[in-house]
């Protein structure tokens, strides 16, 4: 994809026919997707469908047995995670995974681990604090002692600190109050508008389809549907699973 305007800063993430297994237990079979720049792409699917496993495969934590993954025009299949991250992919992982014995600010700094420029890091830190003023007040507090909502802010802020080309978000709303969930969706939309592509796994199907540009549905390790949000709402599988 050429992009003369400069808003779309990378070639898409291509997932091409990957098979992923933990030991002998196959989880994903023949999964193919395209995650395009400038868009929010969402991934729906029941518990255990393999959504987080797909993310692990993209990040190189559980490399695929077959198939290939390419990002920004480069093959990243089987590359070590830090190299994949270095290409411009960041992740807000399932379950937040903050560093409990580090302060909120150190957690944020970990998000920019590969960034060497002190100025850039400081600017991004200020931006995250602008987004979450609460974190600015509590920057010295150990993240492990923060409330669940505050920890979610740390995790989201940490994901933004590398200013990634593609941000992968795995269930950021889990355990948050409706107000915070709404706030999350607002932030995700804003991240996308600022030029970061978003790959979003969410359980709030209505809200997710409301902000997404494109979506896939995963069921028992296979892609069973892919399309525009309006199409997915009409999709038989999605309706059965989510809209009763």
């Amino acid at each position: 994809m050429t992009d003369p305007g400069g808003k779309f800063r990378f070639k898409p993430l291509f997932i091409d026919g990957i098979h992923v297994a933990y030991g002998k237990a196959g989880v994903l079979s023949d999964v193919s997707m395209e995650i395009l720049p400038g868009r929010i792409t969402c991934l729906l699917g029941a518990n255990g469908a393999g959504k987080s496993t797909l993310i692990r495969a993209v990040l190189g934590l559980t490399p695929p047995r077959q198939g290939s993954i390419a990002f920004d025009g480069m093959d990243i299949t089987g590359a070590p995670t830090h190299a994949i991250v270095g290409k411009g992919i960041a992740c807000i992982p399932e379950g937040r995974r903050i560093f409990p014995k580090m302060s909120a600010q150190e957690n944020l700094l970990m998000g920019a681990f590969q960034e060497r420029s002190k100025e850039l890091i400081r600017a991004r830190l200020e931006k995250v604090y602008g987004l979450f003023p609460r974190l600015a007040e509590r920057r010295a507090q150990l993240a492990g002692t923060m409330s669940g909502g505050e920890q979610a802010m740390v995790s989201i802020g940490r994901g933004l600190m590398s200013a990634p080309k593609l941000l992968i978000i795995d269930e950021p709303s889990l355990g948050l109050s409706p107000a915070l969930v709404n706030e999350n969706f607002r932030i995700i939309r804003r991240i996308c508008e600022e030029g970061t592509a978003v790959f979003l796994v969410e359980q709030n199907v209505r809200q997710t389809l409301a902000i997404a540009h494109y979506g896939y549905v995963l069921s028992q390790g296979r892609v069973v549907a892919g399309g525009l949000p309006a199409e997915l709402k009409e999709n038989e599988q999605v309706r059965k699973a989510y809209f009763g």
């Binding site: 990040l59 934590l61 070590p80 995670t81 830090h82 991250v85 270095g86 992740c91 992982p93 995974r97 903050i98 560093f99 409990p100 014995k101 580090m102 150190e106 700094l109 970990m110 998000g111 681990f113 590969q114 492990g144 940490r158 590398s162």
Partner: protein, 305 residues
């Protein structure tokens, strides 16, 4: 009174040595969740590498000033042992993580034997104790029956400096931040872009280099080394790390001094049989473990690094 003070001085010296060994155990456990049983023998290799360096320096540059000699011996010992640590981590410990943790335990125990036997068989006259040179001038300060040796003072300050450096590396550098991140959540650290393999190897280099200092310190303190010194030092360092709460660096340092303190008490309290001081100290460690199973300053969730 002087005698008591003398015991305390010696105890501080030993405590520093044990703390340096314990820091390695606790660092390795922090990043990889493994107990590296061969770490005591790594200390021993450090002693012998220092001795070999001294021999070489002595024959090649006979007039070398004492300060330079000590520095070069330390650097050479640290470099040798750091390299050994890197190789052991990369070739053995990281690959073994795919299997049960007991395999690592067993493999590092066997590695310890290999290291000991290698020195015994291949170091010149390695099966006999070797005289370790007094690298520093034999000045000492005397007050009554109290003797304060100059070289001990230097070694103690050097040890304190090393502990301070480790503290700075862990808390103030990018590598240290990565080490702490890996210790707290390995996978999250990877997702943040930390090169896991590099961090593990750097940690092993660091912990081993610190052990090398303890090895040279041990040689200079006792003026003698042998191929099996690592057995006791390893057991002591491991105990110290456990008393302090495995994974906690400051706990390990505290544990080292506590162990030396226990040995000193053992020696003072049973003067007619100070040979039992280790029995007393290890017995006390067992009691401490029964009283505080997760270590003296461990937090409920078992603090890491």
């Amino acid at each position: 009174m002087d005698l008591l003070l003398q015991y305390c001085l010696n105890g501080l010296m030993l405590g520093m040595m044990y703390a340096l060994v314990a820091v390695g155990f606790t660092l390795f456990f922090g990043v990889l969740d493994v107990i590296v049983f061969s770490h005591g023998d790594t200390v021993m290799i450090g002693s012998f590498a220092g001795l070999a360096t001294y021999w070489w320096l002595h024959s090649t540059y006979p007039g070398l000033p004492a300060g330079w000699a000590v520095l070069l011996v330390l650097l050479a010992a640290a470099a040798t042992v750091a390299l050994l640590g890197i190789i052991v981590a990369d070739a053995m410990i990281v690959p073994l993580r795919k299997g049960p943790a007991l395999n690592t335990l067993l493999a590092t125990m066997m590695l310890g034997t290999v290291l000991r036997e290698s020195i015994r068989l291949f170091f010149p006259d390695g099966s006999n104790p070797q005289t370790f040179p007094a690298l520093l001038p034999g000045w000492s300060w005397r007050g009554g029956n109290l003797i304060l040796r100059f070289d001990n003072l230097v070694l103690f300050c050097g040890g304190a400096l090393i502990i301070f450096l480790v503290h700075m590396i862990i808390n103030r550098t990018r590598l240290g931040m990565a080490i702490r991140a890996v210790a707290q959540d390995e996978e999250a650290a990877r997702i943040m872009g930390v090169n896991f393999r590099f961090v593990v190897l750097a940690t092993f280099a660091l912990g081993s280099a610190v052990a090398a200092f303890a090895g040279v310190m041990n040689g200079m303190y006792y003026s003698e080394i042998n191929f099996s010194v690592g057995l006791l030092l390893g057991a002591i360092g491991f105990s110290a790390a456990v008393i302090g709460g495995l994974g906690n660096i400051y706990g390990a340092i505290l544990g080292g001094f506590i162990f030396a303190f226990l040995q000193t008490i053992g020696a003072v309290a049973i003067p007619f049989a100070s040979a039992y001081k280790d029995v007393f100290a290890f017995g006390a460690v067992i009691l401490i473990m029964a009283w505080r199973p997760t270590g003296l300053i461990a937090e409920p969730s078992s603090q890491r690094v």
